[in-house]
């Protein structure tokens, strides 16, 4: 089983952080993982993507994928390139609070999570990506909540220590309010 997913958002590091947390969580759950973050253009404030491949065998594919088994979108801007790569059976998790328009025209399974709203209510709009990634992990059963929290603690750089608490809360909120296993990638139904 090799699960390729991408995350996308506008600027900032939060999408990359979310991707890294998911990657670390998968490693903690003993999977093989390849993760690559990319930033659009030489400029700041442009789009930012992350590609993740999670597998139970050594990963052979490069972290530049042509087809996606899953996608996470913080915002509709810059989602287009991801949409084009979605497989028919892909899992798509979007940030309902900001995302406008159609996420998946091909009949893919779409889950809309009010991530920014949830995060704002928790007092930290920046943690929206935590909510979303936790929801994704929960829906797809890609990683456990404990691993996500542990992964987050590994991933936060020293100069951002003040965010540990709020991030953990956001991860928990995201995970606990999502439809667990609704599109598991490991189960017969979700896997390919």
């Amino acid at each position: 089983m090799e699960h390729e997913l991408m995350l996308t958002g506008i600027g900032g590091q939060s999408v990359q952080l979310a991707a890294q947390i998911l990657a670390r969580a998968c490693v903690l759950d003993d999977r093989q993982v390849t993760y690559l973050g990319t930033y659009g253009g030489t400029m700041r404030g442009g789009n930012t993507d992350a590609t993740l491949i999670v597998s139970d065998r050594p990963v052979s594919a490069p972290p530049m994928v042509s087809e996606l088994a899953g996608a996470l979108a913080m915002h509709h801007q810059f989602f287009e390139p991801l949409r084009e790569k979605l497989r028919d059976d892909a899992v798509v998790v979007i940030n309902e609070s900001l995302f406008e328009g159609e996420a998946a025209p091909g009949g893919q399974r779409v889950f809309a999570i009010p991530a920014t709203q949830v995060a704002t209510e928790l007092g930290s709009a920046l943690a929206a990506s935590m909510v979303l990634v936790a929801a994704y992990a929960c829906i797809t059963e890609l990683a456990r909540l404990d691993s996500l929290v542990a992964g987050m603690r590994e991933a936060i750089p020293s100069y951002r220590r003040q965010h540990l608490e709020s991030n953990e809360k956001a991860l928990r909120m995201g995970f606990e309010n999502a439809p667990a296993g609704a599109a598991s990638v490991w189960s017969a139904g979700g896997a390919r």
Binding site: Q20, A23, R24, V27, Q32, V33, T34, Y35, L36, G37, T38, Y39, G40, G41, T42, V59, S60, A61, P62, P63, M64, V65, S66, E67, E154
Partner: protein
């Protein structure tokens, strides 16, 4: 060590320190920056030094100085910063100093730079081109060994994918043959004895006005020919009965390997040769793979550079065709669509089916 998720740059710095690297200097440039950051974090704890140099030219100078004392030293940049280092790199080669140089390149357009250099005169660097991170953490250890063994710079050709991809790796120290002592390394101790040391790229020797650059350069040439005989490395798969042999290196080869394996599963007669050393280039491996092939297809992410070496290797025994091309993203960091499996697959199919390559 145990398996942990490391960014490529972090793993490379880690493996370098493990290999005994004790000096690093560099200047930020994407996608090299994180390598510098990681050396800055790791070296002090290992009793080493990392300097955030004020420019690439100063960085390579610092590494040169460090190496002249016998320390295992490294520097690097992306191809653009390496362009600035060309004068130093050719001169360091003539000074016969070991040095490891990282090119965290933006794509594969620096193949010429890496294998032919832009420095002056005749000089060669061993160039190692890992396809993925686990291989890279081995090759970087090899790089430090080869640099000392041959007293010659060794370049590791990486790219954005190698530098920025996180993978769960488990870095193991490698064993190498014992090395000769560094009796040439400067420590000042022989001053006043009439036998003080001199690290010199011009053919000058202490106590003599006579300069013999021709002798020095010929000695280097002989050494480089020896390296050509002894240090060639490559990987070939499925070439015996292949209609089409694909030649690719580095990150592109990673995709090629992935795609060719799938195509073989589908019964297509395709194989590949992956040069691991770009210099010395695996002429024999490519020549052998070309025997009997209908076509040799070169898939590189540039306007056509390695194809020169492939043509030299194949020497007319099969048609050589370029199926790669320039491919980058708006940042020009080198992460173009050519690195994606679907595009690589399509190009290889074009070669197999004698179709035009999409431009």
């Amino acid at each position: 060590m145990t398996r942990s998720l490391l960014m490529g740059s972090e793993a490379l710095a880690e493996a370098s320190v493990l290999a005994g690297c004790r000096f690093f200097a560099g200047y930020p440039m994407t996608p090299f920056t994180e390598l510098l950051e990681n050396f800055a974090v790791k070296l002090p704890g290992a009793g080493g030094v990392c300097i955030n140099a004020e420019s690439e030219i100063e960085a390579v100078g610092m590494a040169w100085g460090a190496s002249s004392t016998g320390a295992r030293a490294a520097t690097g940049s992306t191809g653009q910063g390496l362009a600035l280092m060309q004068e130093a790199l050719s001169e360091i080669t003539r000074a016969e100093l070991p040095l490891v140089v990282f090119n965290m390149a933006r794509g594969q357009g620096d193949y010429y730079q890496a294998t032919r250099g832009g420095g002056h005169g005749d000089y060669r660097h061993v160039v190692l081109a890992p396809a993925d991170l686990p291989e890279a953490t081995d090759l970087i250890q090899l790089a430090f060994d080869l640099a000392d063994r041959w007293r010659n710079p060794v370049l590791l050709y990486g790219d954005y994918l190698l530098a920025h991809t996180h993978e769960a790796v488990d870095i193991q120290p490698l064993d190498f043959e014992p090395l000769p002592g560094k009796d040439w390394a400067l420590d000042g101790s022989l001053g006043g004895s009439g036998r003080s040391r001199s690290v010199n790229p011009l053919g000058m020797e202490k106590g003599s006005k006579r300069i013999d650059p021709e002798g020095l350069w010929k000695r280097l040439q002989a050494k480089h020919e020896e390296i050509e005989r002894r240090e060639v490395r490559s990987q070939s798969e499925f070439t015996e009965d292949a209609d089409v042999v694909v030649v690719a290196f580095g990150s592109v080869a990673r995709t090629v390997r992935h795609v060719v394996a799938k195509l073989r599963e589908e019964g297509r007669r395709v194989g590949y040769v992956r040069p691991i050393t770009l210099w010395p280039f695996p002429l024999a491996a490519v020549a052998e793979a070309a025997q009997g092939a209908r076509q040799v297809a070169v898939l590189e992410q540039n306007a056509g550079q390695m194809i020169d070496d492939v043509r030299i290797a194949v020497a007319g025994s099969a048609p050589v065709r370029a199926i790669g091309g320039i491919s980058t993203d708006p940042s020009s960091f080198g992460i173009g669509s050519l690195l994606e499996p679907a595009n690589v697959r399509e190009r290889i199919l074009c070669a197999l089916e004698d179709r035009e390559i999409p431009r």
